[in-house]
Amino acid sequence: MEYATLLQLLDSTLRLATPLLLACLAGLFSERSGIFDIGLEGKMLAAAMASGAVAFLTGSVWLGLLAGIGASLIFALIHGVASITFRGNQLISGVALNFLASGITVLVAQRMFGQGGRTPPLSGDARFNPVTLPFAEALKEVPILGPLYFEVISGHSLLVYVAIAMVPLSWWVLNRTRFGLRLRAVGENPAAVDTAGVSVVGMRFAAVAITGVLCGLAGAYMATALQAGFGREMTAGRGYIALAALIFAKWRPVAALWACLLFGFFQALALRPDVVQAVVQVKVPVPFLDALPYILTVIVLAGFIGKAIPPRAGGEPYVKER
C-alpha cells in the first residue's frame, strides 16, 4: 500500500471516529453513574436534525450546535425522568427514545423543509469548516512526518479536536475531581454515597445531562461537519457502535479513544474495499468489514480479550428505603 493511501485512510479514520468518540464518552458518563443508556443513537439523531435545521435557518453553525445540544438534552432528560425519577427499565426507555427520535426527526424536518425528511444542504458559516493547524503548510515538505501532519492531523473541523480534547478532560473529571469520584461511586454503590449525604438522584441527573451534551456534540458534528445537513437515519447505528466501543474500552476514557479509532478505522476500510483487497490479496466482502466492530465486541463480551465488567449498580434504579 502506498503511503498516500495510508494517509487517506487514517484521515478518514479520524473523521469517522469523532462521532463515535463523542457518543462513547457520553455513554461513559451515564453508565459510570449507573444509568445504562442504549439511547445514544436517538440523542445523536435528534441533535443532528436540530443542528442541521437551525444552522440552515440562522446561517450560524454555532446556533446550530446549541440547538443540537438542546435537542439531545431533552431526550437525555426524558431518559432521566423515566429511569431515575420513576425507576423505570433503563434499557426499555433507551429503546423507546431511539424509536421516538427516529420518527420525530423525519416528521419535523419534513414539516419545516418539505424535502422528504432532510434538511437543506449547508454551506459557508452554517458548517464547521476544516481548520488548518499552524505550520501545516510549511511542514508539508518534510518527509514522512510532514504529510502525516498535513493530511491526517491538520485540516479537520473544530469538533474533531474538541472530541480528542474531551478524552483527557473526561479522564481528569472522572479520576481527579470530587465530582468524578462521587459519580463513579454512585455507579458502584449508591447506598454508600447516599449515606455520605450526597444526592444519588442529583448525581445521576448530572451524569445524564453530560451524556446529553456530548451526544449533542456528536449529532451536530454529523450534520454540520461530517456531512452538510441532516438526512433521515443519518447516524446509521453509530450510537450502537459507540456502545460497543464503550464495552471494548471497559468504561475507561483513554481506552475509549483507542476503541473508537479502531472502529473508525474499520468504517474507513469499509469505504475502500479496493485497498483492503490489495493488502490482503483476497476479496473481502464489504459487509464483513461493516460487521467487524460488532463481531469484535461480541468476542470482547465473551471475555476472550480480558473481562469487561460494567459498573456494579448499572441498570438498577436506586430505592432510598425499603
Binding site: 442504549i38 426524558i78 423515566a82 429511569s83 420513576f86 425507576r87 423505570g88 427499565n89 433503563q90 434499557l91 426499555i92 426507555s93 429503546v95 423507546a96 427514545l97 431511539n98 424509536f99 421516538l100 427520535a101 427516529s102 420518527g103 420525530i104 423525519v106 416528521l107 419535523v108 419534513q110 414539516r111 425528511g117 433521515r232 447505528g237 450502537y240 456502545l243 460497543a244 464495552i247 466482502p285 459487509p287 464483513f288 461493516d290 460487521a291 460488532y294 463481531i295 465486541t297 461480541v298 463480551l301 465473551a302 471475555g303 460494567p310
Partner: protein, 366 residues
Amino acid sequence: MDRLPRWADVVLVPVISLLLAAIISALVLLAIGQSPVEAFNVMVEGALGSAYGWGYTLYYTTSFIFTGLAVTVAFHAGLFNIGGEGQAQLGALGVALVCLSLDWPHWTLALAAATVGAAVFGAAWAALPAYLQAKRGSHIVITTIMFNYIAAALLVYLLVDVLRPTGQMDPASARFPEGAHLPALNEIPLVNLIFTKPVPANVTLIIALGMAVVVWAILWRTRLGYQIRAFGKSESAARYAGINPVFIIMVAMLMSGGLAGMMSVNNVMGEAERLLQNSSEGAGFIGIAVALMGRNHPLGVVLAALLFGFLYQGGAELGLWTSIPIEMRIVVQGLVILFTGALDVMVRMLLTRIFGLFRSQKLGAA
C-alpha cells in the same frame, strides 16, 4: 404504598399508558400542523374500514404475534431479547433455503418444512448470545443488538454474492417455486367470501394463533414453564430450588429466537415469495412494544399485535392519503414502548394515588 386491585393492574395500567401515548401522538400531530381527528379517521378507514384493509392489518398482526411472543418468552426468564430483528432475518434465510431446496408438491408440506427451517435458523442465531449470557455472563441485551447488525451484514453478503441468481440486478434470491405458494385469505374457500380482493394476510395467521396457545401452555401448564417463570422472578431462589440456570437461559432464548424466526414464514413465504434485503422491516423491534403492551401474556400479545397491525396499516394509509409522513407510526411505537415499558411506574403511582383517594373517602363516609 397501597397495592392496586388486580383488575386495575391488568387492564387499567396498559389502557392508561396507551391513552397517554395517544395524547402525546395527537400533540405531535398538532405540532406539525396536522389534524389528529382526521389522521385517526384515515387510519381507521384504511386499516379497519374494509375487508381489504383488514387483509393488511391481519398480515402485520401475524408477524407481530410471532415477534411479540418471542420477546414474551425471554421476558419470563428475565431476559430482554432485543435481537428479534436479527433472528427474524436469519429465520427468513431458513425459509428461503427450504423453499428453494426442492420443487414442493404441495404448500402444506412446504409450510411445515419452512416453519421448521425458520425456527431452527432463528433459534440458532439466538443460541450464541444465550450461551454467552449463560456461561460467560455477557449481557444479552448488548450481544443481541450486535447480532442484529451482524445478521444484517450477513444477509447483505448472501443476497449480493451467493443467493442472487446470475443476471439479476437487485439483491434478492430467486423466486420460490409455485408449490411453495401459501394461500392468502382471499384464496381460502369460504374465507374468500369476505376477502374478495388479493390481500397479503395468509394461512400463517393460523400458525401464529396456534403458537400463542402453545406458548401459553408451555409457560403456565408445564414444569419447564414453571421453571422459566421462577428463574425470571428470582434467579437465586430458582438456583436454590435446583433449577439449572444455564439450561433455562438456553431453552428460553432458543424458544424466543425460534418464534422470532417463524415470523418470516409470514412475510417471506406468504407475501414476497423470495428473500429480500431487510425482509423483517423492523417487526422484530415491534415485538418489544407488543410484549410490553400485552403485559407478557399470550392473549395480551395477540390483542396488542392486532393494535400494532392496525397502527402499521393505518400509518401506511396516512403516508398514502395525507401529508403526514409514514414515520408517524415509529413515533407512536416509541411512545407506546416508553409509556408501557419505562414509565409504567409513573402510571401505577398515579392510579394508586387516585384509588387511595376513593378509599379514604369511603372510610370517611363510614
